[in-house]
Protein backbone atom coordinates (compact mmCIF):
# COMPACT_ATOMS: atom_id res chain seq x y z
CA UNK A 1 0.00 0.00 0.00
CA UNK A 2 1.93 2.94 -1.31
CA UNK A 3 2.29 5.94 1.01
CA UNK A 4 0.92 3.91 3.89
CA UNK A 5 3.07 0.90 4.71
CA UNK A 6 6.25 2.98 4.52
CA UNK A 7 4.86 5.08 7.35
CA UNK A 8 4.62 1.95 9.52
CA UNK A 9 8.24 0.80 9.11
CA UNK A 10 9.49 -0.79 12.31
CA UNK A 11 13.12 0.14 11.82
CA UNK A 12 12.33 3.80 11.28
CA UNK A 13 10.06 3.72 14.33
CA UNK A 14 12.90 2.42 16.47
CA UNK A 15 15.20 5.10 15.10
CA UNK A 16 12.70 7.86 15.86
CA UNK A 17 12.15 6.39 19.28
CA UNK A 18 15.90 6.37 19.98
CA UNK A 19 16.27 9.97 18.81
CA UNK A 20 13.37 11.02 21.00
CA UNK A 21 14.99 9.39 24.01
CA UNK A 22 18.06 11.57 23.53
CA UNK A 23 16.06 14.75 22.97
CA UNK A 24 13.49 14.56 25.74
CA UNK A 25 14.79 16.27 28.84
CA UNK A 26 14.67 13.73 31.70
CA UNK A 27 14.26 16.59 34.18
CA UNK A 28 10.80 17.49 32.89
CA UNK A 29 7.53 15.92 31.83
CA UNK A 30 5.76 16.29 28.53
CA UNK A 31 1.99 15.85 28.47
CA UNK A 32 0.76 15.83 24.90
CA UNK A 33 -2.89 15.57 23.96
CA UNK A 34 -3.85 13.88 20.74
CA UNK A 35 -7.14 15.43 19.85
CA UNK A 36 -8.25 13.10 17.13
CA UNK A 37 -9.78 9.66 17.58
CA UNK A 38 -7.85 8.44 14.54
CA UNK A 39 -4.65 9.16 16.44
CA UNK A 40 -5.96 7.51 19.60
CA UNK A 41 -6.62 4.38 17.60
CA UNK A 42 -3.21 4.42 15.87
CA UNK A 43 -1.40 5.04 19.15
CA UNK A 44 -2.93 1.94 20.72
CA UNK A 45 -2.82 -0.24 17.67
CA UNK A 46 0.89 0.30 17.11
CA UNK A 47 1.87 0.69 20.75
CA UNK A 48 3.25 4.19 20.19
CA UNK A 49 3.29 5.00 23.91
CA UNK A 50 5.78 2.14 24.45
CA UNK A 51 8.17 3.80 22.02
CA UNK A 52 8.22 7.04 23.99
CA UNK A 53 10.43 7.94 26.93
CA UNK A 54 8.55 7.48 30.24
CA UNK A 55 8.34 11.24 30.81
CA UNK A 56 6.48 11.79 27.52
CA UNK A 57 2.81 11.01 28.12
CA UNK A 58 -0.01 10.95 25.65
CA UNK A 59 -3.35 12.26 26.88
CA UNK A 60 -6.38 11.23 24.86
CA UNK A 61 -8.69 14.03 23.81
CA UNK A 62 -12.28 14.39 22.65
CA UNK A 63 -11.74 13.69 18.95
CA UNK A 64 -13.96 10.64 18.60
CA UNK A 65 -17.13 11.92 16.90
CA UNK A 66 -19.35 9.15 18.24
CA UNK A 67 -18.06 9.63 21.78
CA UNK A 68 -18.78 13.35 22.09
CA UNK A 69 -22.41 13.31 20.95
CA UNK A 70 -24.62 13.81 24.00
CA UNK A 71 -27.21 11.12 24.72
CA UNK A 72 -30.02 13.68 24.37
CA UNK A 73 -29.08 14.22 20.71
CA UNK A 74 -28.88 10.48 20.06
CA UNK A 75 -32.29 10.06 21.69
CA UNK A 76 -33.79 12.41 19.11
CA UNK A 77 -32.42 10.20 16.32
CA UNK A 78 -33.92 7.15 18.01
CA UNK A 79 -37.23 9.02 18.27
CA UNK A 80 -37.07 9.81 14.56
CA UNK A 81 -36.43 6.16 13.77
CA UNK A 82 -39.58 5.26 15.73
CA UNK A 83 -41.71 7.06 13.15
CA UNK A 84 -43.24 4.70 10.63
CA UNK A 85 -42.73 7.06 7.70
CA UNK A 86 -39.00 7.52 8.38
CA UNK A 87 -35.94 5.71 7.07
CA UNK A 88 -33.05 6.78 9.27
CA UNK A 89 -29.59 6.60 7.69
CA UNK A 90 -26.49 6.75 9.85
CA UNK A 91 -22.77 5.99 9.87
CA UNK A 92 -22.16 2.55 11.32
CA UNK A 93 -20.72 3.19 14.77
CA UNK A 94 -23.60 5.38 15.81
CA UNK A 95 -26.00 2.44 15.61
CA UNK A 96 -24.47 0.72 18.61
CA UNK A 97 -24.20 3.69 20.97
CA UNK A 98 -26.52 3.26 23.94
CA UNK A 99 -29.15 5.98 24.27
CA UNK A 100 -31.27 6.55 27.35
CA UNK A 101 -33.46 3.73 28.72
CA UNK A 102 -31.14 1.13 27.18
CA UNK A 103 -32.27 2.03 23.69
CA UNK A 104 -30.04 2.21 20.60
CA UNK A 105 -30.58 2.55 16.88
CA UNK A 106 -29.57 -1.07 16.49
CA UNK A 107 -32.31 -2.10 18.91
CA UNK A 108 -34.81 0.07 17.04
CA UNK A 109 -33.86 -1.79 13.91
CA UNK A 110 -34.27 -5.16 15.64
CA UNK A 111 -37.76 -3.97 16.61
CA UNK A 112 -38.59 -3.49 12.96
CA UNK A 113 -37.75 0.18 12.43
CA UNK A 114 -36.06 1.15 9.19
CA UNK A 115 -32.56 2.13 10.25
CA UNK A 116 -29.85 1.85 7.63
CA UNK A 117 -26.11 1.96 7.94
CA UNK A 118 -24.41 4.00 5.21
CA UNK A 119 -20.73 4.52 4.41
CA UNK A 120 -21.40 7.84 2.73
CA UNK A 121 -24.20 10.41 2.83
CA UNK A 122 -24.61 10.02 -0.93
CA UNK A 123 -26.10 6.57 -0.22
CA UNK A 124 -28.84 8.30 1.76
CA UNK A 125 -29.64 10.36 -1.34
CA UNK A 126 -29.92 7.19 -3.39
CA UNK A 127 -32.28 5.70 -0.79
CA UNK A 128 -34.38 8.90 -0.89
CA UNK A 129 -34.77 8.63 -4.65
CA UNK A 130 -35.73 4.97 -4.40
CA UNK A 131 -38.38 5.61 -1.70
CA UNK A 132 -40.37 8.72 -2.62
CA UNK A 133 -43.14 7.59 -0.24
CA UNK A 134 -40.81 7.72 2.79
CA UNK A 135 -39.01 10.44 4.73
CA UNK A 136 -35.26 9.82 4.55
CA UNK A 137 -33.31 11.38 7.40
CA UNK A 138 -29.53 11.39 7.37
CA UNK A 139 -28.15 11.42 10.92
CA UNK A 140 -25.07 13.60 10.37
CA UNK A 141 -22.29 13.49 12.95
CA UNK A 142 -18.60 14.29 12.87
CA UNK A 143 -15.94 16.95 12.71
CA UNK A 144 -14.81 19.20 9.85
CA UNK A 145 -13.90 16.21 7.67
CA UNK A 146 -17.42 14.81 7.52
CA UNK A 147 -19.15 18.19 7.20
CA UNK A 148 -18.31 19.01 3.55
CA UNK A 149 -19.79 15.71 2.29
CA UNK A 150 -23.01 16.51 4.17
CA UNK A 151 -23.03 19.96 2.56
CA UNK A 152 -22.65 18.31 -0.85
CA UNK A 153 -25.59 15.99 -0.10
CA UNK A 154 -27.85 18.90 0.92
CA UNK A 155 -26.96 20.87 -2.20
CA UNK A 156 -27.54 17.82 -4.33
CA UNK A 157 -30.95 17.20 -2.71
CA UNK A 158 -31.79 20.85 -3.41
CA UNK A 159 -30.73 20.51 -7.04
CA UNK A 160 -32.76 17.33 -7.49
CA UNK A 161 -35.73 18.81 -5.64
CA UNK A 162 -35.78 15.83 -3.25
CA UNK A 163 -38.64 16.76 -0.95
CA UNK A 164 -38.34 13.60 1.17
CA UNK A 165 -34.71 14.07 2.26
CA UNK A 166 -33.49 15.87 5.35
CA UNK A 167 -30.43 16.01 7.58
CA UNK A 168 -30.29 15.83 11.37
CA UNK A 169 -27.18 17.95 11.79
CA UNK A 170 -24.74 17.29 14.64
CA UNK A 171 -21.53 18.51 13.06
CA UNK A 172 -18.98 19.99 15.45
CA UNK A 173 -15.80 22.04 15.24
CA UNK A 174 -12.34 21.05 16.39
CA UNK A 175 -10.71 24.37 17.35
CA UNK A 176 -13.56 25.38 19.67
CA UNK A 177 -13.33 22.03 21.45
CA UNK A 178 -9.58 22.37 21.98
CA UNK A 179 -10.14 25.84 23.34
CA UNK A 180 -12.81 24.59 25.70
CA UNK A 181 -10.42 21.96 27.07
CA UNK A 182 -7.82 24.63 27.77
CA UNK A 183 -10.45 26.88 29.36
CA UNK A 184 -11.88 24.10 31.51
CA UNK A 185 -11.44 24.23 35.25
CA UNK A 186 -9.73 20.83 35.11
CA UNK A 187 -6.87 22.39 33.20
CA UNK A 188 -6.84 26.02 34.28
CA UNK A 189 -7.73 26.01 37.94
CA UNK A 190 -7.71 22.47 39.27
CA UNK A 191 -4.67 21.31 37.32
CA UNK A 192 -6.22 17.86 37.00
CA UNK A 193 -5.23 17.63 33.38
CA UNK A 194 -1.94 18.84 32.16
CA UNK A 195 -1.65 19.52 28.45
CA UNK A 196 1.66 20.97 27.30
CA UNK A 197 1.01 20.59 23.59
CA UNK A 198 -1.32 19.15 21.00
CA UNK A 199 -0.99 16.59 18.25
CA UNK A 200 -3.32 18.16 15.69
CA UNK A 201 -5.71 16.07 13.61
CA UNK A 202 -4.74 15.11 10.08
CA UNK A 203 -7.98 14.67 8.15
CA UNK A 204 -9.75 17.56 9.84
CA UNK A 205 -6.77 19.76 8.98
CA UNK A 206 -6.77 18.77 5.30
CA UNK A 207 -10.08 20.66 5.25
CA UNK A 208 -9.55 23.58 7.66
CA UNK A 209 -5.79 23.93 7.09
CA UNK A 210 -3.25 24.69 9.78
CA UNK A 211 -4.16 28.35 10.14
CA UNK A 212 -7.09 28.01 12.60
CA UNK A 213 -4.69 26.66 15.25
CA UNK A 214 -2.32 29.61 15.06
CA UNK A 215 -4.46 31.92 17.12
CA UNK A 216 -4.80 29.63 20.10
CA UNK A 217 -1.22 28.33 19.97
CA UNK A 218 -0.27 31.98 20.57
CA UNK A 219 -3.04 32.82 22.99
CA UNK A 220 -2.68 29.72 25.17
CA UNK A 221 1.05 29.27 24.62
CA UNK A 222 0.70 25.63 23.60
CA UNK A 223 2.49 24.17 20.56
CA UNK A 224 0.43 22.29 17.99
CA UNK A 225 1.86 19.81 15.50
CA UNK A 226 -0.51 18.48 12.86
CA UNK A 227 0.28 14.80 12.32
CA UNK A 228 -0.67 12.05 9.90
CA UNK A 229 -2.42 8.91 11.13
CA UNK A 230 0.43 6.44 10.74
CA UNK A 231 2.67 5.51 13.67
CA UNK A 232 5.78 7.18 12.23
CA UNK A 233 3.79 10.36 11.71
CA UNK A 234 2.72 10.38 15.34
CA UNK A 235 6.26 9.66 16.56
CA UNK A 236 7.69 12.45 14.47
CA UNK A 237 5.00 14.85 15.66
CA UNK A 238 5.84 13.98 19.27
CA UNK A 239 9.47 14.71 18.52
CA UNK A 240 8.56 18.08 16.99
CA UNK A 241 6.48 18.94 20.06
CA UNK A 242 9.28 17.94 22.43
CA UNK A 243 11.66 20.17 20.51
CA UNK A 244 9.28 23.12 20.63
CA UNK A 245 8.78 22.68 24.36
CA UNK A 246 12.53 22.37 24.95
CA UNK A 247 13.08 25.58 23.05
CA UNK A 248 10.18 27.37 24.72
CA UNK A 249 8.28 27.78 21.46
CA UNK A 250 4.51 27.53 21.02
CA UNK A 251 3.93 27.42 17.29
CA UNK A 252 1.83 25.55 14.78
CA UNK A 253 3.92 23.07 12.83
CA UNK A 254 2.82 20.65 10.18
CA UNK A 255 4.19 17.12 10.11
CA UNK A 256 1.52 15.98 7.64
CA UNK A 257 2.76 18.09 4.73
CA UNK A 258 1.65 15.44 2.26
CA UNK A 259 -2.00 16.21 3.02
CA UNK A 260 -2.28 19.53 4.84
CA UNK A 261 -1.58 23.10 3.77
CA UNK A 262 -1.97 26.32 5.74
CA UNK A 263 -5.08 27.27 3.77
CA UNK A 264 -6.73 23.83 3.72
CA UNK A 265 -9.36 22.75 1.20
CA UNK A 266 -10.84 26.09 0.18
CA UNK A 267 -13.49 24.51 -2.03
CA UNK A 268 -14.78 22.38 0.83
CA UNK A 269 -14.73 25.38 3.18
CA UNK A 270 -16.83 27.41 0.74
CA UNK A 271 -19.40 24.61 0.46
CA UNK A 272 -19.68 24.36 4.23
CA UNK A 273 -20.09 28.14 4.54
CA UNK A 274 -22.81 28.05 1.89
CA UNK A 275 -24.92 25.44 3.71
CA UNK A 276 -24.13 25.72 7.43
CA UNK A 277 -23.88 28.37 10.10
CA UNK A 278 -22.61 28.39 13.68
CA UNK A 279 -24.87 27.51 16.58
CA UNK A 280 -24.38 29.83 19.51
CA UNK A 281 -24.02 26.85 21.84
CA UNK A 282 -23.70 23.12 21.30
CA UNK A 283 -23.59 20.45 23.96
CA UNK A 284 -20.69 17.99 23.98
CA UNK A 285 -20.56 14.85 26.01
CA UNK A 286 -17.83 15.36 28.58
CA UNK A 287 -17.26 19.02 27.80
CA UNK A 288 -20.79 20.35 28.33
CA UNK A 289 -22.12 23.28 26.29
CA UNK A 290 -19.33 24.79 24.18
CA UNK A 291 -19.89 28.22 22.57
CA UNK A 292 -19.82 28.31 18.77
CA UNK A 293 -18.72 24.70 18.50
CA UNK A 294 -21.52 23.21 16.43
CA UNK A 295 -23.12 23.82 13.06
CA UNK A 296 -26.72 24.02 11.93
CA UNK A 297 -28.30 24.22 8.51
CA UNK A 298 -28.84 27.75 7.17
CA UNK A 299 -32.35 29.15 6.65
CA UNK A 300 -31.85 28.97 2.92
CA UNK A 301 -31.74 25.18 3.17
CA UNK A 302 -34.24 24.89 6.04
CA UNK A 303 -36.38 22.52 3.96
CA UNK A 304 -33.64 19.94 4.48
CA UNK A 305 -33.28 20.48 8.21
CA UNK A 306 -34.75 17.51 10.09
CA UNK A 307 -34.83 19.50 13.33
CA UNK A 308 -37.29 21.99 11.82
CA UNK A 309 -39.16 19.50 9.69
CA UNK A 310 -39.92 17.17 12.60
CA UNK A 311 -39.94 19.88 15.30
CA UNK A 312 -37.33 18.04 17.36
CA UNK A 313 -36.88 19.24 20.93
CA UNK A 314 -34.07 17.95 23.12
CA UNK A 315 -34.83 16.61 26.57
CA UNK A 316 -32.15 16.51 29.23
CA UNK A 317 -30.95 12.98 30.00
CA UNK A 318 -28.97 11.87 33.04
CA UNK A 319 -25.80 9.98 32.13
CA UNK A 320 -25.33 6.39 33.20
CA UNK A 321 -23.82 6.79 36.68
CA UNK A 322 -21.15 4.13 36.32
CA UNK A 323 -19.88 5.41 32.97
CA UNK A 324 -16.85 7.70 33.11
CA UNK A 325 -16.89 8.64 29.41
CA UNK A 326 -17.32 12.33 30.24
CA UNK A 327 -14.16 12.46 32.36
CA UNK A 328 -12.28 10.28 29.88
CA UNK A 329 -13.18 12.59 26.99
CA UNK A 330 -11.78 15.53 28.98
CA UNK A 331 -8.58 13.59 29.67
CA UNK A 332 -9.22 13.62 33.44
CA UNK A 333 -9.61 9.85 33.78
CA UNK A 334 -8.36 6.72 32.08
CA UNK A 335 -10.63 3.89 30.92
CA UNK A 336 -9.20 1.64 33.64
CA UNK A 337 -10.48 4.12 36.24
CA UNK A 338 -13.99 3.01 35.31
CA UNK A 339 -15.29 0.28 37.58
CA UNK A 340 -17.09 -1.59 34.83
CA UNK A 341 -14.38 -1.35 32.17
CA UNK A 342 -13.83 -4.77 30.63
CA UNK A 343 -16.41 -6.44 32.86
CA UNK A 344 -19.93 -5.09 32.36
CA UNK A 345 -18.76 -2.80 29.57
CA UNK A 346 -17.03 -4.35 26.55
CA UNK A 347 -17.04 -3.62 22.81
CA UNK A 348 -19.68 -6.28 22.25
CA UNK A 349 -21.84 -4.89 25.05
CA UNK A 350 -20.96 -1.20 25.35
CA UNK A 351 -22.43 0.81 28.21
CA UNK A 352 -20.91 4.12 27.14
CA UNK A 353 -20.03 5.71 23.80
CA UNK A 354 -16.24 5.49 24.40
CA UNK A 355 -16.49 1.70 24.14
CA UNK A 356 -18.34 1.73 20.82
CA UNK A 357 -16.16 3.36 18.19
CA UNK A 358 -12.68 1.95 17.51
CA UNK A 359 -11.62 5.58 17.96
CA UNK A 360 -12.97 5.71 21.50
CA UNK A 361 -10.43 5.51 24.33
CA UNK A 362 -12.20 2.66 26.15
CA UNK A 363 -12.46 0.55 23.03
CA UNK A 364 -8.80 1.21 22.12
CA UNK A 365 -7.68 0.28 25.64
CA UNK A 366 -9.82 -2.84 25.60
CA UNK A 367 -8.51 -4.09 22.28
CA UNK A 368 -4.85 -3.33 22.58
CA UNK A 369 -3.82 -2.75 26.16
CA UNK A 370 -6.14 -4.72 28.38
CA UNK A 371 -3.63 -7.53 28.98
CA UNK A 372 -0.98 -5.05 30.07
CA UNK A 373 -3.13 -2.83 32.18
CA UNK A 374 -5.65 -4.94 33.88
CA UNK A 375 -5.79 -8.41 35.30
CA UNK A 376 -9.51 -8.41 35.87
CA UNK A 377 -11.11 -11.20 33.87
CA UNK A 378 -12.81 -9.93 30.75
CA UNK A 379 -16.46 -10.72 30.34
CA UNK A 380 -16.03 -11.77 26.73
CA UNK A 381 -13.58 -11.39 23.88
CA UNK A 382 -13.48 -8.22 21.82
CA UNK A 383 -15.27 -8.23 18.52
CA UNK A 384 -13.89 -6.45 15.52
CA UNK A 385 -16.12 -3.58 14.51
CA UNK A 386 -13.70 -1.26 12.84
Amino acid sequence: MKYISEFRDRRAAQALSAVLATEANPAREYHLMEFCGGHTHAIFRYGVQDLLPPNVRLVHGPGCPVCVLPVSRLDLAIELAERHDVILCSYGDMLRVPGSRKRSLLKSRALGRDVRMVDSCTEALTIARAHPDKEIVFFAIGFETTTPPTAVAIREADRLGLANFSVYCNHVLTPSAIRSILDADDVRRLGLVRVDGFIGPSHVSTIIGSRPYEHFAREYRRPVVIAGFEPLDVLQAVRMLVRQLNEGRAEVENQFTRGVTREGNVKAQALVAEVFELRRLFEWRGLGPVPYSGLRIKKKYAAFDAETRFALVEKPVPENKACECGAIIRGVKKPTDCKIFGTACTPSNPIGSCMVSPEGACSAYYRYRRQLLDRRPAAEPATATG
Binding site: L16, V19, T122, T145, P149, Q236, T257
Partner: protein
Protein backbone atom coordinates in the same frame (compact mmCIF):
# COMPACT_ATOMS: atom_id res chain seq x y z
CA UNK B 1 -5.87 5.75 -2.40
CA UNK B 2 -4.76 5.70 -6.03
CA UNK B 3 -7.11 7.02 -8.68
CA UNK B 4 -7.59 4.36 -11.38
CA UNK B 5 -10.01 6.19 -13.63
CA UNK B 6 -12.30 9.17 -13.66
CA UNK B 7 -16.04 8.49 -13.93
CA UNK B 8 -18.91 10.74 -14.86
CA UNK B 9 -20.70 12.85 -12.25
CA UNK B 10 -17.50 14.03 -10.56
CA UNK B 11 -16.63 10.54 -9.40
CA UNK B 12 -13.60 8.26 -9.65
CA UNK B 13 -12.67 4.65 -9.19
CA UNK B 14 -9.89 4.37 -6.60
CA UNK B 15 -7.81 1.52 -5.25
CA UNK B 16 -5.83 0.70 -2.14
CA UNK B 17 -4.26 -2.63 -1.21
CA UNK B 18 -6.29 -4.40 -3.90
CA UNK B 19 -9.61 -2.97 -2.70
CA UNK B 20 -11.45 -0.81 -5.19
CA UNK B 21 -14.24 1.65 -4.64
CA UNK B 22 -16.00 4.58 -6.19
CA UNK B 23 -15.61 7.96 -4.53
CA UNK B 24 -16.88 11.48 -5.12
CA UNK B 25 -14.45 14.11 -6.41
CA UNK B 26 -16.80 17.01 -5.68
CA UNK B 27 -14.50 18.43 -3.00
CA UNK B 28 -11.22 18.35 -4.94
CA UNK B 29 -10.60 20.02 -8.29
CA UNK B 30 -8.30 18.77 -11.02
CA UNK B 31 -7.78 15.16 -9.91
CA UNK B 32 -6.25 12.93 -12.63
CA UNK B 33 -5.81 9.18 -13.00
CA UNK B 34 -2.66 8.07 -11.18
CA UNK B 35 -3.02 10.73 -8.46
CA UNK B 36 -3.24 9.72 -4.82
CA UNK B 37 -6.14 11.09 -2.80
CA UNK B 38 -7.14 10.90 0.86
CA UNK B 39 -10.66 9.53 1.16
CA UNK B 40 -13.17 10.06 3.95
CA UNK B 41 -16.80 8.82 4.00
CA UNK B 42 -16.80 8.23 0.26
CA UNK B 43 -15.31 11.61 -0.69
CA UNK B 44 -11.79 12.51 -1.78
CA UNK B 45 -10.93 15.30 0.68
CA UNK B 46 -7.51 16.24 -0.67
CA UNK B 47 -4.86 15.15 -3.09
CA UNK B 48 -1.89 13.44 -1.48
CA UNK B 49 1.26 15.35 -2.31
CA UNK B 50 3.73 12.65 -3.41
CA UNK B 51 6.71 15.01 -3.31
CA UNK B 52 5.99 15.91 0.31
CA UNK B 53 5.41 12.24 1.20
CA UNK B 54 8.84 11.38 -0.20
CA UNK B 55 10.45 14.24 1.73
CA UNK B 56 8.96 12.97 4.99
CA UNK B 57 10.12 9.42 4.23
CA UNK B 58 13.60 10.66 3.33
CA UNK B 59 13.80 12.32 6.73
CA UNK B 60 12.94 9.03 8.45
CA UNK B 61 15.52 7.18 6.36
CA UNK B 62 18.14 9.74 7.26
CA UNK B 63 17.50 9.35 10.98
CA UNK B 64 17.55 5.56 10.72
CA UNK B 65 20.77 5.54 8.73
CA UNK B 66 22.47 7.96 11.03
CA UNK B 67 21.46 5.91 13.99
CA UNK B 68 22.48 2.59 12.51
CA UNK B 69 25.99 3.82 12.15
CA UNK B 70 25.96 5.05 15.72
CA UNK B 71 24.62 1.76 16.97
CA UNK B 72 27.26 -0.20 15.11
CA UNK B 73 29.97 1.96 16.52
CA UNK B 74 28.61 1.62 20.01
CA UNK B 75 28.44 -2.13 19.85
CA UNK B 76 32.05 -2.21 18.70
CA UNK B 77 31.33 -3.53 15.21
CA UNK B 78 33.65 -2.45 12.47
CA UNK B 79 32.27 0.00 9.99
CA UNK B 80 33.16 -1.03 6.47
CA UNK B 81 33.58 1.74 4.00
Amino acid sequence: MRVIELLDGERARVEMGGVEKTVSLTLVDGVAAGDYVIVHVGFAITRLDAVEAKKTLALFAEIADRLNIDLKLESGDEVHQ
